[in-house]
């Protein structure tokens, strides 16, 4: 891989995550994948697969004493930035404006002591340079865009005063505030009720499409991933096991671990009635599911 211009938006080459110290360990052994603008990539893995660490490495947010190796190059208007090895100050300009993230537990990723409106003002003021009335209107617009009813009330509230699904929508609004080109979503629906999940996934899909963003969606749940990702990267024990189009992975997985994962998911899925037999026509579901009669 030359140091020349990138074709895609994100390029991971031999990306690794290591722990130093008296007992050095490699937690992620080398991930190779590139992401084009507007593309949706899913990373699937079970616990201990290293998928979340990979996301953190791309964001440059690995906690001490974890350290990234290899490279994670992002195409920015100012040139190519390799997150691995770039000082934190420079990365501040990349995070938010180019790459943004939504995590699993909004209670942990949102500030509990700041009103929601104020939390949204920060990135809007910083990245879009808005002030005063313009800023306030932008906050309300952002909340309305993620389909929160009563944006004024939400803007005045604290995060513990709203529901889990609403919180995650706020987290998404926050992530989109600076108009990033890549959104990383790490298990964004795992902590939510199943009836709320569908809405969040639909929101993510719509935003990503409308804004022409790329999406890196991480999950342990294959049906969820299959509904949103064009390509899937399978990880196990810190290693990249398979990479391919979603349909291909589901139909004919090359790697035995992937095959086992797909088979297990399918067996679980088969406990439920055949699709098209139930469900209200207006509810969101996985693509390919016919609306219920």
């Amino acid at each position: 891989m030359t140091a020349a211009a990138m074709t895609g938006l994100l390029e991971l080459a031999a990306l690794s995550v290591r722990v130093g110290g008296p007992e050095p360990r490699t937690l992620v052994h080398g991930v190779d994948v590139s992401l084009a603008p507007g593309e949706r990539l899913g990373i699937i893995g079970e616990s201990g697969s290293g998928k979340s660490l990979t996301a953190l490495a791309v964001l440059g947010l690995l906690p001490y004493p974890l350290v990234a190796g290899g490279s994670a190059r992002i195409a920015t208007p100012d040139g190519v930035v390799d997150v691995v090895g770039t000082p934190a100050r420079r990365l501040d300009r990349v995070r938010g404006a180019i790459v943004s993230a939504v995590f699993q537990e909004p209670l942990a990723s949102l500030d509990p002591l700041m009103r929601i409106g104020r939390q949204l003002e920060w990135p809007l003021r910083r990245h879009r340079g808005l002030r005063g009335d313009e800023l306030r209107r932008a906050v309300l617009d952002a909340l309305a865009e993620v389909q929160l009813a009563e944006p004024e009330r939400i803007a005045r509230s604290y995060i513990h005063e709203i529901s889990g699904g609403q919180r995650q929508r706020v987290a998404i609004a926050l992530a989109l505030a600076a108009d990033p080109q890549l959104l990383i979503a790490d298990e964004p629906t795992t902590a939510l009720d199943v009836t709320v999940q569908a809405g969040i996934i639909e929101l993510l899909q719509r935003e990503v499409t409308d804004r022409g963003m790329s999406l890196l969606f991480i999950s342990h749940d294959l049906p969820v991933l299959a509904g949103i990702a064009d390509r899937v990267l399978v990880m196990k024990d810190g290693r990249q096991v398979e990479l391919g189009a979603t349909a291909q992975i589901l139909r004919a997985p090359a790697d035995p671990y992937t095959a086992q994962l797909v088979a297990a998911s399918r067996r679980l899925d088969e406990f439920l009635p055949v699709q098209g037999g139930a469900g209200a026509p207006d509810a969101a579901g996985a693509p390919g599911e016919e609306a219920g009669a």
Partner: protein, 255 residues
């Protein structure tokens, strides 16, 4: 409806704190011996509270919980001991349901000790470990040596120790990886088949309810909104909440 006395029933059970909206209202259900019932609900539906009431850990503020036809009375020690032998729980989180400072063998044998069950406890523990597909050496190890799925099997072994007739399971596979879920589901199916153990399964996950329960009930905001044979409810749901629930489950696209 059978005319056999149901093993465990809730009759118009309610639970609440003071004047605020009750957590549970007018909940009625019955589990026949050897039968299985799935209770589906999301957060805030009151599932956990209902489980605690059915386990005799709290008393309902309205209605009655009955075991084998008789009212469940926490103060009647002999009756409670009979109850605890017959009805055992399996919890959701395999990491907090085993005492990290107690060996697996001692944890599994605890019901045998506390319920004063006679016999060779050590042999029984080995038997139980085998029944859940773990080796007898596991008895001397500590929980942190095992994976989530293995710990859940240990928790099931503990629940089986007093030879219960009914297992009350709270999200038994939700915290487990996909590839491990089938193992535990199959284990539970086998137990139902071979030992005639019934289940009352509480979950938000329709998959496991469908896998293990002949009948299911849907809990929303503390009330049961739909009930019936699992197959019928899933294919032809009557209540709008049930329909929304079913439609929300992410499905694998057919290939």
């Amino acid at each position: 409806m059978t005319d056999v006395t149901p093993l465990l029933t809730a009759e118009n059970v309610g639970f609440g704190y003071g004047r605020s909206r009750p957590v549970l209202a007018d909940v009625s259900l019955a589990v026949a011996p050897g039968a299985s019932l799935g209770l589906v609900g999301e957060s805030g539906a009151g599932k956990t509270t209902l489980l605690r009431l059915l386990l005799g850990l709290e008393a309902p503020t309205a209605g009655v919980v009955r075991f084998d036809g008789g009212r469940l009375d926490v103060r009647d020690r002999r009756a409670m001991r009979r109850f605890r032998r017959a009805v055992q729980p399996v919890y959701q989180d395999p990491f907090s349901s085993l005492d990290p400072r107690m060996t697996v063998g001692r944890s599994i044998a605890e019901p045998l000790r506390s319920l004063q069950i006679e016999g060779d406890h050590r042999a029984r523990v080995a038997e139980l470990l085998a029944a859940v597909g773990l080796s007898a050496e596991a008895a001397d190890r500590y929980p942190d040596a095992f994976s989530g799925g293995q710990r859940q099997r240990i928790a099931i072994a503990r629940a089986l120790a007093p030879r219960p007739r009914l297992l009350l399971a709270d999200e038994p596979v939700s915290a487990l990886d996909t590839s491990v879920r089938m193992t535990v589901i199959e284990l539970l199916q086998r137990l139902a088949r071979e030992q005639g153990i019934g289940f009352l399964l509480v979950s938000h996950d329709l998959t496991i309810v469908s896998a293990l329960c002949e009948r299911m009930a849907v809990l929303e905001s503390g009330r049961i909104v739909e009930e019936g044979p699992t197959g019928s409810v899933l294919t032809a749901p009557a209540h709008p909440y049930t329909r929304r629930l079913i439609a929300s489950v992410p499905r694998l696209p057919a290939v």
